[in-house]
């Protein structure tokens, strides 16, 4: 059967959709992670805690599906990436999952009992469920940018030769801090929008300004690092964009500084880092003035810009290998088959707009500032 879109185009579309998924997750569940991380700092009393929690209580569950869909879509469209990354980052993934498992039960079970110890325990669970994934996602991206120590054998079985603590190198920790700063800013912006005027919102504003500034500074620092000491990879020979998905067919070499190459070749891609920084600046100004729209729009733009910057810097690489560069997974050799990519695109084109439609409806129903009175009523968490 002749498909209306050729293989290279579909691979490119699915690379972009991978970005859409990551950004979709960070824009929605990102503020849930941010609010959970902020919980012990912006809310001191039980009523304040419930106010903060209930700004995200009705919607976090739907947001988490972005994460799950991310897993499923990577499995379906980039099976090599799914197979290599999650088995390689084994304990890191386990920690993320354990932290994320604490979150739903934290929300649902916290206010089922009056006991102070009980509620204090779940507040900790929620904090861990917010802070730990936010940090580890960033650390993972920091490692991917440097190349991951894995290799593929002739059967295309992957072997990972690095430990959990190898992941905690300085650049990866810097990337982890960017992730935390960015998502906490987004969480603070959400509290500015959603929480009633009072101490929770004031404290969120005070912290959010600082994390917005920190996002800009750390992001620039990471860029400088990439330019000066930075890793990078490129193809060593000709690449068949429509070739079979077998990473070993393409020769790859490590070339320091190569991650900045795309910005020289395609200057238009500079939009991504610029949007990231201007977004964070807008968030800073908006949160400082406690203005809802610029706060949230700014933090959202910051997230979209920063994630796009990572993707565009590495393109066409998705998961470079530091151990055996030839095993590196790229857009042109680690996707699903032509037919699967096409079929999944059709499914996405039909269902993603529907998802956005009812998500929008839910936001419309829940529109408006949350009061302490409502947050502490028996029907709230």
């Amino acid at each position: 059967m002749e498909l209306p879109l050729d293989y290279p185009t579909l691979r490119l579309i699915w690379w972009a959709l991978l970005g859409v998924l990551l950004i979709g997750f960070s824009l929605t569940d990102g503020y849930d992670l941010g609010v959970a991380t902020l919980l012990p700092f912006v809310a001191k009393t039980d009523a304040e805690r419930r106010l903060a929690i209930n700004t995200i209580a009705p919607t976090w569950e739907g947001h988490q599906v972005w994460f799950i869909l991310g897993g499923g879509a990577i499995f379906a469209a980039w099976p090599f990436v799914y197979a290599v990354s999650f088995s390689g980052f084994y304990y890191a993934m386990f920690i993320v999952l354990a932290a994320l498992i604490l979150r739903p039960v934290g929300f649902k079970y916290r206010s089922k009992r009056e006991s102070k110890t009980w509620r204090g325990m779940w507040d900790w669970a929620l904090f861990i469920g917010g802070f730990v994934p936010a940090l580890i996602f960033g650390v993972a991206v920091g490692n991917v940018l440097q190349g991951v120590p894995f290799r593929l054998d002739g059967d295309l079985r992957s072997y990972y030769e690095g430990g959990l603590f190898g992941l905690l190198n300085p650049f990866a920790l810097l990337a982890g801090l960017i992730s935390v700063a960015m998502l906490v800013t987004h969480g603070a912006a959400w509290l500015i929008v959603k929480a009633e005027k009072g101490p929770v919102r004031d404290r969120a504003a005070a912290i959010g300004q600082r994390t917005a500034l920190a996002t800009i500074i750390l992001f620039v620092l990471a860029g400088v690092w990439l330019a000066v000491a930075g890793p990078g990879y490129r193809f060593a020979g000709e690449v068949d964009f429509a070739g079979p998905s077998n990473p070993l067919r393409n020769a790859v070499v490590a070339e320091p500084g190569a991650w900045l190459g795309n910005y020289k070749t395609y200057p238009l891609t500079m939009i991504a880092p610029v949007v990231g920084m201007l977004g964070a600046l807008l968030a800073f100004l908006g949160i400082r003035a406690k203005r809802e729209f610029p706060s949230l729009a700014g933090s959202a733009l910051a997230i979209a810009g920063v994630i796009s910057t990572v993707g565009l810097s590495m393109f066409p690489f998705i998961l470079p290998s530091s151990l055996d560069p030839n095993s590196s997974l790229t857009v042109w050799d680690s996707s699903s088959s032509h037919f699967t990519l096409f079929f999944m695109l059709i499914v996405t084109v039909i269902f993603l707009p529907i998802v956005l439609l009812y998500t929008g409806w839910v936001f419309k129903v829940l529109w408006g500032r949350l009061s302490t009175e409502e947050a502490t009523s028996p029907s709230s968490y």
């Binding site: 599906v65 090599f80 197979a83 084994y90 649902k108 992957s158 829940l366």
Partner: protein, 520 residues
């Protein structure tokens, strides 16, 4: 060769996390539908008591739902973490239903469940009912896509091995989606979920009636649960998934194993209702048979043959020999993709490639295998006969018991208007049974799939990640500890919510009394 310790531990971990996940799934599947029924009655009659009923069961639904969601997250990533080679080998096909599940079903369920709990005062009656219905639709569609993925592991249709990418690739998505095993499994699993919820509602309501608490809510709930449960229990048994058991060699083997039927019998085969399977002697002692029944349910005909274990092992041996030929062709194609004669050999023998891979357990290169190793590998295709034999009987026994329980409850709750105390007590102590039936059902389906992770395509021991035993053990301990604590908290909260009941601590508060008055 692959270290089978890692494979064994990875299997334990998957079984542990999947079976734990499935403690919460069936109740979600069924209770969501029951909530739609209850809330529909509220919307149609406008009577407060039905709103109280809906909200009360909704609270219990919520406590259960979060753990289903929390443990489902693990499942989505566990393939990549522990079954990395599997993920590479079949991601082209298997990933699609998982992704579609997220996009089409789980988003719907999870996005609207928030409004279901928080939207009572923000939505009109009809809009809230629509939200509840969307949650029910989402969770049931979610089961559909997960079972399409699972059925493909049992009956891998619509795909072929590609030597250029060293993996299975899709040839026909329609065949994957309309896989007959998926349809049988979907109906069976979803009905089993409905039964679970019906038993749960029936048992909790019976508890209230025994204590003479919340009578208005309990009697109405019991009537709904009894009729819904009776229909569902009949559907589980009548539309059991045995019908899919004649399609493939492994499914046939599973059927022969759960019957402990060593030799092929003259059609239609009888059904063993009791027996002691003897793996050493390859026979079943003290078998008590009902004539014709197995042939009838498995082949839906009087003349269809149900094959025995021994002839199926002989088939496996032949397929392994042919699989070695396919393996050889793949190796040649890896050296030279343009080798035309190897391509032809491969096309002719690729159906048995997976059987050749079974030999990797004994020898690094299947082409070097001895006749003895081939025979050993052929016997590996026989799953654990005594375990399958007994879990099948436990599951079916519980299934028939439910029909009787629901029929009794339906008669007394609807016709007689009140149930005798012995029946109420029976309903309370029956609460754990649907969970036991569901868990042994999965044990039957997946333990019976062994030695395959994808039937006939990839042996389980080859599917694992390149991890060491310590790493897998570490996460097993981690998940067990975390899940154990959460299970205790969940059950405590569930019991507490049941103790509090629909009207708060004092069972006959004014609202409750008023509701009970309307009731009479």
């Amino acid at each position: 060769m692959i270290d089978t310790t890692v494979a064994d531990l990875s299997r334990w971990q998957f079984a542990l996390t999947a079976m734990y996940h499935f403690l919460f799934v069936p109740l979600t599947l069924g209770l969501s539908i029951l909530l739609v029924i209850m809330e529909s009655v509220y919307v149609m009659t406008g009577r407060q008591v039905w709103k109280d009923i809906t909200k009360f069961w909704g609270t219990l639904f919520g406590i259960n739902f979060v753990l289903g969601v929390a443990t489902g997250v693990t499942m989505e990533f566990e393939f990549g973490m522990n079954w990395s080679y599997y993920s590479h080998y079949v991601g082209d096909i298997f990933g699609a239903p998982l992704a579609i599940e997220g996009l089409m079903a789980f988003f719907l369920e999870a996005t609207l469940v928030g409004l279901m709990f928080f939207g009572w005062d923000k939505l009109s009656k009809v809009a809230h009912l629509a939200t509840t219905a969307a949650v029910a639709l989402g969770s049931n569609l979610s089961a559909l896509w997960i079972l399409i993925a699972n059925a493909w592991m049992q009956n891998p249709v619509g795909s072929t091995f590609n030597p250029d990418t060293m993996r299975m690739e899709v040839t026909d998505f329609a065949a994957v989606i309309f896989n007959p095993v998926a349809q049988a499994k979907f109906v069976h699993t979803v009905s089993a979920g409905y039964v679970t919820a019906a038993i749960f509602v029936l048992g909790v309501s019976a508890y209230y009636l025994l204590k003479n608490k919340n009578v208005g809510v309990a009697r109405r709930s019991m009537a709904v649960a009894a009729s819904f449960g009776l229909a569902s229990a009949l559907s589980v048994v009548v539309l059991g998934d045995e019908s899919g058991y004649t399609l493939t060699d492994n499914q046939k083997m599973k059927l022969a194993a759960l019957e402990a039927m060593w030799e092929t019998e003259k059609a239609p085969a009888g059904l063993n209702i009791f027996g002691i399977p003897d793996v050493e002697e390859r026979t079943t002692h003290n078998a008590i048979k009902i004539p014709y029944v197995l042939g009838l349910i498995a082949t839906r005909s009087l003349d269809g043959t149900v094959e025995g274990i021994l002839p199926l092992v002989a088939v496996a041996e032949e397929r392994i020999e042919n699989g070695v030929v396919a393996y050889d062709a793949v190796q040649k194609l890896r050296e030279d993709p343009n080798d035309i004669s190897a391509r032809e050999t491969f096309e002719a023998s690729k159906r048995d490639l997976g059987y050749g891979l079974l030999l990797k357990r004994y020898v690094a290169d299947p082409r070097q295998a001895t006749k003895e190793q081939i025979q050993k590998a052929a016997w590996d295709t026989v799953p654990n006969v005594p375990v399958l034999f007994w879990v099948f009987r436990i599951m079916v026994g519980i299934g028939f018991y439910f029909i009787a329980l629901f029929a009794g409850s339906f008669y007394f709750a609807s016709v007689q208007q009140s149930a005798p105390r012995w029946l109420l007590r029976l309903a309370v102590i029956s609460i754990p049974l649907p969970w036991i039936a569901a868990e042994v059902g999965w044990l039957l389906a997946e333990h019976g799939r062994q030695p395959w992770i994808i039937e006939g395509v990839l042996p389980t021991f080859l599917g694992v990640s390149s991890l060491n035993a310590g790493q897998v053990m570490g996460t097993i301990i981690g998940f067990t500890a975390l899940y154990g604590v959460l299970a205790i908290i969940e059950i405590t909260l569930m019991l507490r919510a049941i103790g509090i009941g629909p009207y708060g601590h004092k069972a006959t508060k004014p609202a409750g009394a008023a509701a009970a008055m309307i009731d009479r």
